[in-house]
């Protein structure tokens, strides 16, 4: 009996096909893992199963009946719930209230919540999960592991038949993870089907009855317990062909002067990071989501503080406390989250591009013709569609928004450019254009840092690659016939 059956499921965002004809059979009462690189489509797959995305092609069967959930709540009512990557709880409500939130129906008498009865029921669930805390505890006081237990209890409260876990152990201590694993085994013993998504391949191998590998939105295969090892899994996860746009890189840049030197940089979410970038060089940053790469970039750009360590620009130590400081030293950051950090929604193209330039050019008034001129000058290198300085940036496609943000920093003539996931959510054509722009920057002698979760991108662009794992630099590799699996090994936390 299959708990879940997916037939020809596809999903695209604009021209970006995230899932392509996915077929999966999840047997009832088993633990089925789905592994894949960042961006392989795992989250999208879960979102379809759980009713977050109702606009998809193909068929989803739940215990033999075709379902098409319009909302996550519909899915929960049908007995399929999800324990989120970052679980959201109402911190000021009690554990019991959180578990029942939105479905207190049976415990409401005359408009009042009968907490005693509710807590009796939720305490029962907590006992079943072996939790030491009680239903009357404030949810905000719980640890990450406990919060996961609350989420599982919530699934049980809704009488879930299928529970999926999205990176449950990412923020847990080893002990908390052990407790979670034993709870998962109990759930399986009680006949509940579990869908498990994790980057931690070792735990996937130990826990799973079946493992499916997803790559670029396609299922690369499904293996039974004991029929696949970590090495094969990694090979199946990567192994894409290099993007043809990416050229052969001449890695002989070691005679060029060091432009940016970072030593022992330590912040809230990264420790002891050291590296150098030379003139005309691309330094790649690889690692899993959450490895601390973005945080390092933001610290160098002054967007968030660092506690210790030194930053040298052109051999001189500098103090960077704000983006203004960083810009004064010729550092620019093209951020990962374009909407939140890249541009301003109520400004048009020319203004977004000019925003950092007012200060630099000591312009105190708005000179429309100069601002439009700046747009036109940048447009030559960028090919923004539509080519309209008065168009609102927020209405552009992702690729064109990225070009506006690129233009804004190119115009400041920064010498050190940090790109954080420069092609995230961007279609293939614009991707190629952005690679070419980065190539030109390097030719012009800029020092470039590219943070990317896409291995072919880092391998195609970078001269050297720093690999980070859980806030630390694991290694630094010269990109000389490097293979994706080598990087992935380090990114997964392996030391050799």
């Amino acid at each position: 009996m299959d708990a879940l059956k997916l037939r020809h499921v596809s999903k695209s965002f604009g021209s970006n096909n995230v899932l392509k004809d996915v077929n999966l059979d999840i047997e009832a009462g088993t633990l089925h893992s789905i592994v894949g690189e960042n961006g392989a489509g795992k989250s999208t797959l879960l979102n379809i199963i759980h009713g977050v995305y109702s606009d998809y092609n193909g068929e989803v069967d739940l215990f033999g009946n075709t379902v098409h959930f319009k909302s996550p709540f519909e899915a929960i009512k049908a007995g399929i719930s999800k324990v989120h990557q970052e679980i959201q709880i109402a911190p000021d409500l009690t554990v019991g209230e959180n578990i029942a939130l939105g479905s207190e129906g049976a415990y409401v008498r005359g408009g009042l919540l009968d907490r005693k009865k509710l807590y009796a029921r939720t305490d029962e669930l907590l006992d079943r999960l072996g939790c030491k805390f009680r239903s009357n505890a404030r949810a905000g006081s719980l640890t990450v592991g406990d919060i996961h237990m609350v989420a599982i209890a919530k699934s049980l409260y809704h009488d879930a038949k299928v529970i999926s876990f999205d990176e449950p152990t990412a923020a847990m201590s080893d002990r908390e993870a052990e407790i979670l694993f034993s709870v998962i085994k109990d759930l399986l013993a009680a006949g509940i089907t579990i869908l498990y998504v994790s980057h931690r391949l070792d735990e996937v191998i130990t826990l799973s009855d079946k493992i499916s590998v997803l790559r670029d939105g396609e299922v690369m295969g499904t293996w039974d317990r004991g029929h696949i090892d970590k090495q094969t899994m990694i090979e199946r996860m990567v192994g894409r062909e290099l993007n043809t746009v990416l050229q052969e890189i001449d890695i002989a840049t070691s005679d060029q002067p060091v432009v940016l030197k970072v030593q022992g940089l330590t912040g809230d979410r990264f420790r002891d990071i050291s590296f150098e970038v030379r003139k005309g060089e691309v330094l790649g940053f690889s690692g899993l989501v959450g490895a601390g790469r973005t945080e390092v970039a933001e610290a160098i750009f002054g967007a968030q503080p660092y506690h210790s360590g030194t930053i040298e620009v052109n051999g001189k130590p500098v103090t960077i406390r704000s983006p203004r400081d960083a810009m004064a030293h010729g550092i620019a950051l093209v951020p990962e989250d374009r909407k939140r950090h890249g541009f301003v929604r109520n400004l048009d193209n020319k203004m977004n591009m000019y925003l950092p330039l007012f200060e630099k050019r000591k312009a105190h008034t708005v000179n429309k013709s100069k601002i439009t001129e700046n747009f036109a000058a940048m447009q030559e290198a960028l090919n923004i569609q539509p080519n309209d300085p008065n168009y609102m940036t927020v209405q552009l496609s992702g690729g064109n928004q990225q070009k506006i943000i690129l233009g804004k920093w190119l115009a400041t003539s920064a010498d050190i450019l940090i790109f954080d996931e420069p092609t995230k959510g961007i279609d293939v054509g614009a991707k190629a254009e952005i690679y070419l722009i980065i190539g030109k920057l390097v030719e012009a002698g800029k020092a470039v840092i590219v943070i990317s979760s896409e291995l072919p991108e880092v391998l195609g662009l970078a001269h050297r690659i720093v690999v980070m794992h859980e806030g630390r630099k694991v290694t630094e590799l010269v990109n000389d016939h490097l293979e994706e699996k080598t990087i992935l090994h380090y990114a997964m936390g392996a030391n050799q």
Partner: protein
């Protein structure tokens, strides 16, 4: 034609049309409404609220709010009043002192909001209360009496015997405000901060400095409004300006300034203030009980807000 169409597509055009409708309806009901004296009355009554509203527009565009403008007015009123009477200061010098005081009080809000990171509503709720207290302490609770005629003539007289000087002050502040908002870098920053503060910070903009400027400009508006009121009444009450902040916010909102930040204009705010004033004067001319004016004002605010939602919906589809 395209120029006219573009003009009509602007948000200010709708406020202008609404203002026109109000004027037409009331003049049909009572032709006296359109008399020259009455029209001047409408504008004259809009001056104090207009000055406050222009100032508050800067703050609202940054995504903030200033509830302390009424209390700021009161401090300026009693301080300038005392400088003029017990201090015997020259009216021009006293007025300049009033403006500087307005800037300083605005900066207090700016520091609370942009340096200490208090929510604008809470920060200015606190200063609204504190400033009011200061105004009472300065005079010991008593009004400041007998403003010198020279000061009253300077701010409440008529130029060439026809144009009220207060209206000219309003226009001057509106022109300067419009220039700052649309033609200066600070104006771009104020809009950018309201649209996306984090992106703006990451573009190297000094957020504190620019927010502080917005709150300081708001303080200037409150100071000007206070001094016009002082000249008009001839006495300075520490209780003056209570509740004025709400009318100022209403004028800005009716004029298309978004309380979410990032959107607004001085012209719109000015029209909003005029609309409120035209409505009030019209109801008075009709002999409607003043209690109903509150209801009418409320209805206009709610309608303007709802209109904005419909407009956004249409724009998204277009």
């Amino acid at each position: 034609m395209t120029a006219i169409r573009q003009l009509l597509q602007r948000r200010e055009a709708t406020t202008a049309v609404a203002l026109l409708l109000v004027v037409i309806v009331f003049s049909i009901l009572n032709p006296l409404y359109l008399s020259g004296g009455n029209l001047v009355d409408i504008i004259d009554q809009a001056t104090i609220n207009g000055l406050l509203a222009i100032g508050i527009t800067f703050v609202i565009i940054t995504g903030g709010i200033d509830l302390s403008v009424g209390a700021t007015m009161a401090i300026v009123i009693v301080v300038v009043g005392q400088l003029l009477t017990t201090g015997g200061m020259n009216p021009v010098a006293a007025a300049l002192c009033g403006i500087v005081l307005g800037i300083l009080l605005g900066l207090v809000n700016g520091v609370l909001v942009a340096k200490l990171g208090l929510q604008p509503f809470i920060a200015t709720l606190a200063t609204m209360s504190a400033f009011r207290g200061v105004a009472y302490i300065i005079t010991g609770g008593y009004p400041v009496l007998d403003m010198p005629p020279a000061f009253r003539a300077m701010l409440d007289g008529d130029l060439f015997g026809v144009i009220p000087i207060a209206i000219l002050i309003l226009l001057a502040f509106a022109v300067v405000g419009h220039f700052i908002l649309t033609k200066s870098r600070t104006g771009v920053y104020i809009f950018a901060i309201g649209g996306n503060e984090e992106s703006t910070r990451l573009s190297g903009v000094d957020i504190f400095r620019n927010k502080a400027i917005a709150y300081a400009l708001c303080g200037v508006g409150a100071a000007l409004a206070g001094m016009v009121l002082l000249a008009r009444l001839g006495t300075g009450e520490p209780a003056a300006g209570q509740g004025y902040e709400l009318n100022a916010i209403a004028a800005a909102a009716i004029g298309g300034t978004s309380l979410a930040g990032g959107k607004g204009s001085i012209v719109g705010t000015l029209l909003g203030a005029l609309l409120l004033s035209a409505l009030r004067v019209g109801l008075v001319v009709q002999g409607v009980d003043s209690f109903y004016q509150f209801i009418a004002t409320g209805a206009i605010i709610a309608f303007a807000a709802y209109f904005e939602i419909i407009r956004d919906r249409i724009n998204v589809k277009a």
